[in-house]
């Protein structure tokens, strides 16, 4: 992080010299007063002589306080300027960091940089690991003109110096630089240039350019330092946007994988079962065994109903997938209401709608609740279900309790666990630092309890 550069730095050596200069000036002033008094000795009794003596002392005092006040004024001005710059930098950074879309972040970076340093034109180019221009975003140039200019610059000339060599550039007239390749047709004329590299930690490298400082012929050293500081924070915003983009892509990929697994474990298994049963029914009909065929057709219908229920639940689950700004409480509430309407099992919902979690934790918690309700539908023969989601003592606790058949968990064979999806539920809970507990008694229903740590409020 570049440090703030003072406008002029007072080194200890200079300070020592200034102190000595003060002593010499004071001694010189005393000598001058003495000399004047010596000259004025014959006139000291007259008013002219006294006036001249007083005027000499007054002039000395005036010089002394003039220097003191000028120094104070300069230091105050410098502090005010630095405060203004820090405030502007802070506001620009806040604005840039408020955005998560990479293209919008780049646009805000270039807009804020141009506003910060009062430049007419601004541009940011971002290149990837293969040195290809990933994005080239401008400000100060209309869309119409941008279209007439054609494809973005490829990095010849002065842009290449910044792009490939990572150098800062500051010049009053870029057209006079020998490295300049000139402008393409329709390009607006530009003179003063300030360009700094934007060093990101991600796969991108960027360069921020400003051209034509308003009202003043060129950018100052101070402008350059300001832009370097801004570029450092802009790089963090660009990295942040890139990671967010990656996260969204990964979340989509993960969801696709989950759907693929569900299709494989559910739909594909049932379709294979349907195929086998259909072959069996065909065989029974061929051998004139209609009772056997009817029994297998009933099993087929039951399997079809079950997979229909699974598919419907998956559709509700996908519709209730986390939406930015909506709490997990809202998502669970909406899902349970849809599920209730779907299967005709009465649900009592006690959900704290202010519970907010990370996107991944929300997804996992929703899936556990969905899996628990799927178990109720498939195995419990319940009439009522209680679904609760509440935040207490730094924990978020979700429970799904039914009044169905229940079972003895100790007698549940390990092989049967996958049928209830309990292993998957445990994996999901553990992936977000939580636990799942299953309590059931034959004839008294089943309760699934999920506990996960609440996110810290900071």
């Amino acid at each position: 992080m570049p440090s703030l550069q003072p406008e002029f730095e007072v080194s200890p050596k200079t300070l020592r010299r200034l102190k000595w200069a003060t002593i010499v000036a004071a001694v010189g002033f005393v000598l001058l007063v003495d000399l004047v008094r010596h000259w004025l000795l014959p006139y000291l009794r007259s008013w002219q002589g006294r006036l001249l003596m007083d005027a000499t002392i007054f002039t000395g005092v005036l010089f002394f306080f003039g220097v003191v006040f000028t120094l104070i004024e300069r230091m105050q001005g410098r502090l005010e300027r630095q405060n203004r710059e820090l405030l502007s930098l802070h506001m620009a950074t806040q604005d840039v960091h408020a955005e998560l879309s990479l293209d919008k972040v780049l646009q805000r970076v270039v807009d804020q940089a141009a506003a910060l340093l009062d430049a007419q034109y601004g541009a940011i180019s971002v290149i990837d690991e293969q040195n290809r221009i990933e994005s080239f975003v401008t400000c100060g140039i209309s869309d119409e003109l941008r279209a007439r200019l054609g494809s973005p610059p490829v990095g010849h000339g002065l842009l290449g110096v910044v792009l490939n060599e990572g150098q800062r550039l500051r010049m009053p007239d870029l057209t006079r630089d020998p490295r300049s390749h000139g402008f393409p047709p329709h390009h607006p004329p530009m003179r003063s240039l300030l360009a700094v590299p934007v060093v990101c930690k991600g796969p991108f490298r960027g360069n921020l350019y400003l051209a034509d400082k308003n009202e003043i012929p060129e950018f100052s050293q101070e402008d350059e330092e300001t832009l370097v500081r801004f570029a450092t924070t802009a790089a963090i915003a660009i990295d942040n946007a890139y990671l967010h983009q990656r996260l969204s892509t990964l979340a989509v990929a993960e969801e696709r994988l989950r759907i693929a697994h569900e299709m494989h474990d559910g739909l594909a298994q049932v379709l294979a079962y349907v195929n086998t049963k259909a072959q069996a029914v065909k065989e029974f009909l061929r051998t004139d065994r209609p009772e056997e065929a009817t029994r297998h057709l009933d099993q087929l219908a039951a399997a079809a109903r079950e997979v229909y229920g699974d598919v419907r639940e998956s559709i509700i689950g996908l519709r209730n997938a986390s939406v930015p700004g909506r709490s997990v409480g809202d998502a669970v509430h909406d899902y349970v209401r849809s599920w209730e309407a779907q299967h005709g099992i009465t649900c009592r919902i006690r959900v704290d709608r202010d519970v907010h979690l990370s996107a991944n934790a929300e997804l996992q918690l929703q899936r556990i609740v969905q899996e628990s309700l799927a178990n109720v539908r498939k195995h419990a023969q319940a009439k009522h279900v209680d679904v609760a989601l509440q935040q207490t003592d730094g924990k978020i606790v979700a429970t799904v309790q039914d009044d169905g058949l229940g079972f003895n968990p100790e007698l549940l064979g390990r092989a049967e666990f996958p049928r209830f999806g309990l292993a998957t539920m445990r994996e999901r809970a553990e992936s977000i630092g939580g636990t799942v507990r299953l309590d059931s008694t034959p004839g008294q229903g089943t309760r699934v309890t999920v506990e996960i740590p609440a996110p810290s409020s900071s």
Partner: protein, 80 residues
């Protein structure tokens, strides 16, 4: 360092500085010549150094205290 500080502190335009040096030289000349004598001659010699010094430095303490400048500064980098 000091030249930079003087440049930063400067509040006199070139014409103002030239005028002050000329006035200072004129005061010195009058003070040393026979045109003025007595206490006024001493006053001219003593105070001739004020315009000479301020003209040479490009900085006037009265201007500084009153916030006056005859210098047209190029705008520094205004940060909005």
């Amino acid at each position: 360092m000091l030249p930079q500080m003087l440049k930063d502190f400067s509040n006199l335009a070139a014409w103002d500085r030239i005028l002050r040096v000329l006035v200072g030289l004129a005061m010195l000349y009058l003070g040393w010549s026979d045109l003025v004598d007595g206490v006024w001659a001493i006053a001219l010699v003593v105070f001739a150094w004020v315009p000479l010094l301020t003209g040479a430095l490009g900085w006037c303490p009265i201007y500084s205290i009153l916030g006056i400048t005859t210098l047209r500064r190029p705008g520094s980098s205004k940060v909005r």
